[in-house]
């Protein structure tokens, strides 16, 4: 049940009505939890049992950890919880990848095995809810948050349907106070939430699916040989498709949560207006980036043990970001490239030119476009079916002579114009953070923006391809 389906429109209407019809706050939360399980069951009812089991286990583990005082016991409980969560993620998401990699490695040493298809189905959103569960138990272990007294609240934290399958990745410390505070119809921002939902849908349905995806599909089709211009067009279009798809989903999630009186963290803040890759990663998939910072990069030592060790930690963290996105070497390389770009940027800023200090508008715009170009270079491996396809397209991006005609001129023109509009809006309006400025708008522009987004959705009927990030 994706946000862009008519099923979700019905589901949302029923759940929204039911939620506000119930008076007791506890009953409302029970209602939301049940609705969230129903939402998840729409993909595969069996996996509801998995999420219930891991939720229950982590909640019990956190209580046990809270009760025992001796550090080794607490560490052992934490280790057990991490093992269960990562074990589940590893089995469902990475078993096939590890099996294939092991067979390939053995082949190098002359030991040959037939590749085995394990036939394991991937539970939707497992990477997202696993990271949420892990952050909870780790924060309880570190005594940064109070242990959850209510299994209902904790269950809702893990499974609340707007964020369940593709984030933003929540933190229990931010969510639990919201569970304790009963919502009233007056405090919920229904109009604004609905508006954000429609803006998000427009990004996904109109721009990601109908403008950028067709260009990307042509350039990355099996057997296609893109020349210089079309390789850049395909790579840039994919960056924009990924942004419109995922930021669109995040915006829908934030909007829906707001309709129920809950506030989610921002996940994207005009990332293509960033100057440099390091800044971009503070504005792109922010909930994942901050998770990796807090639970991988900082525990590894961050920059505390010297600059070289710090850069190595950073590279490792980004390799992990790549692997988190998908069980394939293409994703690992994508993550690795992000890390290499940021490490390189640190070197340039330190020894050559600190471009972060450029403050004239045109200079920053040029740097933002260069950053978008770097991001698009790495994005090739995110989208490529194989390392060889990724390498081939990447090579074409640096050979100006080659020419191809995979994308019709009309499709390319629309993608370029709208892509430039997206990047341009990020550069021009990147200083507008969060969506609080929307409340200060007069009624007319609010109405115009909603009408524009709603019309974009209404007049973009298509075949509803899945959200890109559902596969993670």
């Amino acid at each position: 049940m994706t946000f862009d389906s008519l099923t979700f429109v019905v589901f949302l209407a029923v759940i929204f009505g039911g939620y506000w019809a119930v008076r007791s706050w506890t009953a409302r939360k029970v209602f939301l939890l049940g609705a969230s399980y129903l939402f998840y069951a729409a993909w595969n009812p069996f996996f509801v049992l998995l999420i219930i089991a891991t939720t229950g286990f982590d909640w019990l583990a956190s209580h046990w950890m809270n009760r025992v005082q001796r550090a080794p016991y607490r560490r052992a409980i934490l280790a057990a919880s991490i093992a269960v969560n990562l074990g589940s993620l590893g089995f469902f998401k990475y078993a096939q990848f590890f099996s294939d990699t092991a067979i390939d490695l053995l082949h190098v040493f002359g030991i040959n095995f037939e590749p085995v298809s394990l036939g394991i189905l991937l539970p939707v959103g497992i990477s997202f809810y696993t990271f949420e569960s892990l952050s909870y138990v780790i924060d309880v272990y570190r005594r940064r948050i109070e242990v959850s007294k209510s299994l209902l609240d904790y269950g809702l934290y893990v499974t609340f349907f707007p964020h369940l399958v593709a984030g933003p990745i929540l933190r229990y410390g931010d969510f639990s106070p919201q569970c304790r505070e009963p919502k009233s119809w007056g405090s919920a921002e229904v109009g604004k939430g609905l508006a954000l939902f429609v803006y998000g849908l427009a990004l996904k349905v109109c721009l990601a699916d109908l403008v950028f995806a067709p260009v990307v599909d042509r350039v990355f089709a099996a057997g296609a040989r893109a020349g210089f211009g079309e390789s850049w067009l395909g790579a840039a279009s994919f960056s924009l498709q990924a942004y419109c798809d995922f930021a669109g989903y995040s915006l829908c999630a934030i909007g829906v949560a707001l309709m129920f009186g809950f506030r989610f963290p921002m996940n994207f803040e005009s990332p293509f207006g960033s100057v440099g890759m390091a800044e971009l990663w503070t504005r792109w998939h922010m909930s994942l980036a901050s998770w990796i910072r807090d639970y991988v990069f900082v525990p590894l030592g961050g920059y505390r043990r010297g600059r070289l060790r710090g850069e190595a930690n950073l590279l490792f963290a980004f390799l992990l970001v790549g692997l988190w996105h998908g069980a394939a070497w293409t994703f690992v390389i994508w993550g690795g490239l992000q890390g290499v770009f940021i490490c390189g940027e640190h070197l340039v800023k330190r020894y050559v030119w600190d471009f972060g200090k450029v403050d004239d508008r045109f200079g920053r715009a040029a740097l933002a476009m260069a950053t978008f170009g770097m991001f698009s270079i790495a994005a090739v491996f995110f989208r490529a079916h194989s390392l060889s396809q990724g390498s081939s397209i990447l090579a074409s991006m640096f050979v100006p002579g080659a020419h191809s005609t995979l994308v019709p001129f009309s499709e390319a023109l629309v993608a370029v114009v709208l892509g430039a509009s997206v990047v341009g809006s990020h550069i021009l309006f990147g200083h507008l953070r969060r969506w609080d400025w929307l409340d200060r708008w007069p009624v007319a522009p609010r109405a115009a923006s909603i009408a524009l987004a709603l019309a974009a959705v209404m007049f973009s009927p298509g075949f509803n391809p899945a959200f890109i990030y559902f596969q993670f």
């Binding site: 008519l6 019905v10 729409a42 009309s410 007319a444 109405a447 909603i450 973009s460 009927p461």
Partner: protein, 327 residues
């Protein structure tokens, strides 16, 4: 909802309703009519109808079945049995037969609309993606979405993907004009009715024949020996269905004039169709052997007009009854 947001939403909704009404009016003025847009979800709804029913009929094939047989009428003619339209425009149906053979829940009658060309091994997988969709992606949630979408498409023209604004803009930039009006009305049960009462019929006919000439030039026919040998696998699928009480019938649908001549030149009936009919475990019926079937007018040499669909459906029902293929 606080007042400014409420006012903004009311204004936005009114604007969008006006825009939708205007766009719908414009499209209807240009001769476009409502039709259901076929896809794998709509197909999956049909497959759901016939599982576990010994009285069920699965209509397999390509456009010649999809645009010729009315499942509701066929069901009525054959005593209200479940009939599913599983034919897919532009794709030969052998993958569907294979999938039904592998599906123990299918115990009904499979009518396989196909010709010798479509039985070639190279075309066997053309409909596999539909079964993959059914087994891996078809859920209750998609059923609800597809049901609601069908209702919208039955009443509004602009909700079809051809009329997406980006598509219109791209066509305008490319100088292609408005989207092609293909004059096909598809119903929720996937039967299509082609309207050949249109001025560009000679062009459509010429283009179809040119496509077939090009096809045979680019893909020469499999030699008869190999073709027959390959069909031993198809025989095993038929036998699998028969072993659990199901039935299969191969039906070569009407073709005419240049299309029929080209098919015969490349797949002579005696060396292909009849040769397999002599060893196939299921009946193989050629339209030329059925009184009345050869008399249908095929304006483009390959498909009947939508107004002939009821007559063709009744002829097919009578054929099934006369050959005792239904109880």
């Amino acid at each position: 909802m606080d007042r400014p947001w409420l006012r903004a939403w009311i204004a936005a909704l009114l604007t969008c309703v006006l825009l939708a009404v205007g766009y719908e009016w414009l499209l209807r003025q240009h001769g476009y009519a409502v039709t259901v847009q076929d896809d794998a979800d709509l197909w999956s709804m049909q497959l759901d109808r016939i599982r576990n029913s010994p009285r069920a009929i699965a209509l397999l094939g390509a456009s010649r079945i999809e645009f010729a047989v009315d499942p509701a009428l066929l069901s009525h003619e054959l005593g209200d049995r479940p009939v599913a339209m599983l034919a897919v425009n532009g794709r030969y149906p052998l993958a569907a037969l294979r999938a039904l053979a592998d599906d123990p829940s299918f115990v009904g009658l499979a009518i396989v609309g196909v010709d010798a060309r479509g039985l070639q091994r190279r075309h066997w997988d053309m409909q596999q993606s539909y079964f993959d969709h059914y087994h891996h992606r078809w859920t209750l949630s998609r059923w609800i979405h597809r049901t609601l979408l069908t209702v919208l498409q039955e009443h509004l023209v602009f909700v079809r993907s051809a009329f997406a604004l980006t598509n219109i803009v791209e066509r305008w930039i490319a100088g292609e004009g408005p989207p092609m009006n293909d004059h096909v009305f598809v119903r929720a049960d996937r039967v299509g009715f082609i309207d050949y009462h249109r001025p560009d019929l000679p062009g459509i006919r010429a283009s179809r024949i040119a496509d077939l000439v090009r096809y045979y030039r680019e893909e020469p026919p499999t030699d008869a020996g190999t073709w027959l040998h390959d069909l031993e696998t198809v025989t095993s699928w038929v036998e699998k269905i028969q072993k659990r009480g199901g039935r299969v019938v191969f039906f070569r649908e009407p073709a005419a004039d240049e299309s029929l001549a080209l098919d015969e030149a490349n797949f002579p009936r005696d060396r292909y169709w009849d040769a397999y009919a002599r060893r196939a475990p299921a009946p193989m019926i050629d339209f030329r052997d059925v009184p009345g079937m050869a008399s249908f007018v095929l304006p483009d040499t390959s498909h009947i007009d939508g107004t002939d669909v009821p007559r063709f459906t009744i002829a097919l029902a009578n054929l099934l009854k006369s050959r005792k293929l239904v109880d």
